[in-house]
Amino acid sequence: MEQVLLMGNEAIAMGAIRAGVAVVTGYPGTPSTEILETVARKNPGNIYVEWSVNEKSALEVAAGAAYAGLRTMVTMKQVGLNVASDPLMSLAYIGVEGGMVIVVADDPGPISSQTEQDTRHFASFAKLPVFDPSSPEEAYQMIGDAFAYSEEYKTPVLFRPTTRVCHGSASIVLEPAQAASSAGAFVKNPKWTIFPRLSYEKHLQIEARRPILEADFSSYPCNILTGSGKKGIATGGISYAYTCEAIQALKECRQRENDVQKNSSDIDYKLFKVSTPHPFPVRLALEFLSGLDEVLVIEELDPVIEKELIFLCGQYHLPVKVFGKLSGHTPQAGENSIEIARKAITKFLKKPNQDEDCRLNLSTLNAKHEDINNKEECIAEEDQQTVEVIQPEQPALPVRPSVLCAGCPHRASFYAVKKAMKGKKAVFSGDIGCYTLGNASPLEMVDTCLCMGAGITIAQGLHRAEPDTVNFAFIGDSTFFHTGIAGVINAVYNETDIVLIILDNSTTAMTGHQPHPGTGKTMMGNIAEKISIPAVLQALGVKQITTCNPLNLKQAVAAIQDAAAVRGVSAVIFEYPCIAIAKPGPQFTVDPGKCSGCKRCIKELGCPAITWKVDKAEIDSALCYGCSLCTQVCSFAAIGGEPV
């Protein structure tokens, strides 16, 4: 068979299709989004796929289908599971009929998230099995195993890839599809209705199941134990890949040394790969620990494997030292790398009689992942002896924070609010999406951001503390449907003075332009009834609702000023499509004869298309989308709309 390049998320989707999944639901979130999109794109025709309004709804829809015996998959990112945790905890008690896999992508780093939370904890909290793939190809196989275990034990299972598995690609050979999921049929039974008495019985059953699963997972082929010796390395997920590379490099290094010194020094160690962190494969783990003096654990996010091993050492009185995050031998935050694994393993596997404290220099290892220079320090020590080349001094690198795109309508919305509130006491609560980037200089229009939908309610709390401040809440269209509506109800009901700014760009932009209830499209490709945001607000009792084009600065400022004067809840809906789904307008250019060099356009807007050249502003034709905001800001009429 021919190999194809599949992103980890695509591999999970293809693996689920191969396993006969019949219903797939989810809410977009980096790094999980492409899983559901791939199922929709590769749908053989018999799979129902939906972007649900939020993760709780997604999990509940899938649960219903799984009650009726269908194989179902739910996709979300780690913080999405917080939203879905209510149905998750109860569903763990109720169980399922058809296989149900809840894919929750964790984001070590974090690269594009609010938290570095570890879904392996959620698995032990909810008492559910969890699968932790180490590569796209393993994910492709493992998702099928997850369906099989789910069906065998009649329980939903968690499947937790991390960013580098999700967004890493590998050449994979696809296998023929398995038998498709049978047609759904719901069989009525009191077991589907959660009740205190049933919960008690289910709790007992779940506890009784744990040791059975622990034994079953001890012979699961993806949990691997190899090698021999007095030292052991335990790892899982993508850290297994880094560990393999680190050991390979170490072996090559020792080989070179041996060629010079002619003495034998094979590396003896046991390697334990944990693919099911919960329930822990106890028998296999005891086999690993048996005869060991020391263990090094390489894992990302929280010390889950480390704690399990320490627990087993205590429970079975094993004289094994366990090193990892808790002992300060590996970094406590951020993502791992080959360098981090190599450094920790090199120190750990040092030959005897060199047993000084092998704890790492945490100040360098806890460094943020993007900071390559710091990462380099981690391996500088070993390289310093070999490399003695004098390099010219590196020039200072420009800082390159993420910014709103050139032409983004959110820039115009934020700028209008900023202008309208100039000199007034106002607080701007933001939310999750592209528009969180409104926090950047020079706009600086996001004073708070917590989690999906929280901006609207945080603004209400701020209002209670400072009633004379104008409290704004910015929220995007997709986030409004996700968890924003309940906050609006709360504000209207409790008679709170807030100004709601809906940044409606007709899509879920940050995650790659998914449809939502306001777009009039579904993931099955159907044209759906558009849910009108103004009509929803009106039904909720919002007193004043204005809809306006943010790219008309004068009108936008006036709309904000009107809304801010209203007692109670008022709303301004800024409607303009995201540049990625709208046609660019004619481009603008700076007339150097008229440009006074006041830099007003740059200082006020921070548009990436406008740069400074010697003493004039200049517009980059590769970036300008013709939004016209700069022409409305320029005091010298120096920016013209001559199409290029």
Binding site: T30, S112, H167, I372, P395, V399, S402, C607
Partner: protein, 198 residues
Amino acid sequence: MNIILAGVGGQGIVLASKVIAQSAMQKGLKVRTAETIGMAQRGGCVVSHVRIGENIHAPLVALKTADLVLGFEPAEAVRALPFLKPQGTVIVSQKAIKPVTASLSAEGYEGKTMLDYLQNSVSRFYIVDSDAVCSVCGSPKVLNTALLGAAAGSGVLGFTLTDMETALESVLPAKLLDMNIQALRAGAQNIEEGNICV
């Protein structure tokens, strides 16, 4: 072989790494890649890792092991230098992309400083006149393909231009193919014409 593609969100780096991976797979080689997706795509630093060959486990390139750093922007090429192995190759677009922060602050940032630094610290170094190549092709959006052409032209990748044209055919929609093949060839020619600084 390890390759790092470094630039700014929106430059088409993810697609470029796909084309390299596709070229390798056409020769029956195994590939792993890692890309930057998400918030950083909005004008932030974007790095793609491409690894080709046997016995490769991790999607990320280890520091000091990259055979090639393909810089889509001078400062981003400098930022990615810790990945380059001794005697490794750097190919970079000469066009600087100034971040908003640089336009706001007094210091600014000049691409020339970065190019000079690269020239003095890298043994095999090529500058691609991306403005010239893009204007020949009639679009600034083909920079990524032009750089791929330059990489193929330099001989570092071990793929011919024909290999990469076949890869483009399988990765790109048909309507964009002609312009990108033109860019690929123009990029390779740009290297041959002697923007080579050893």
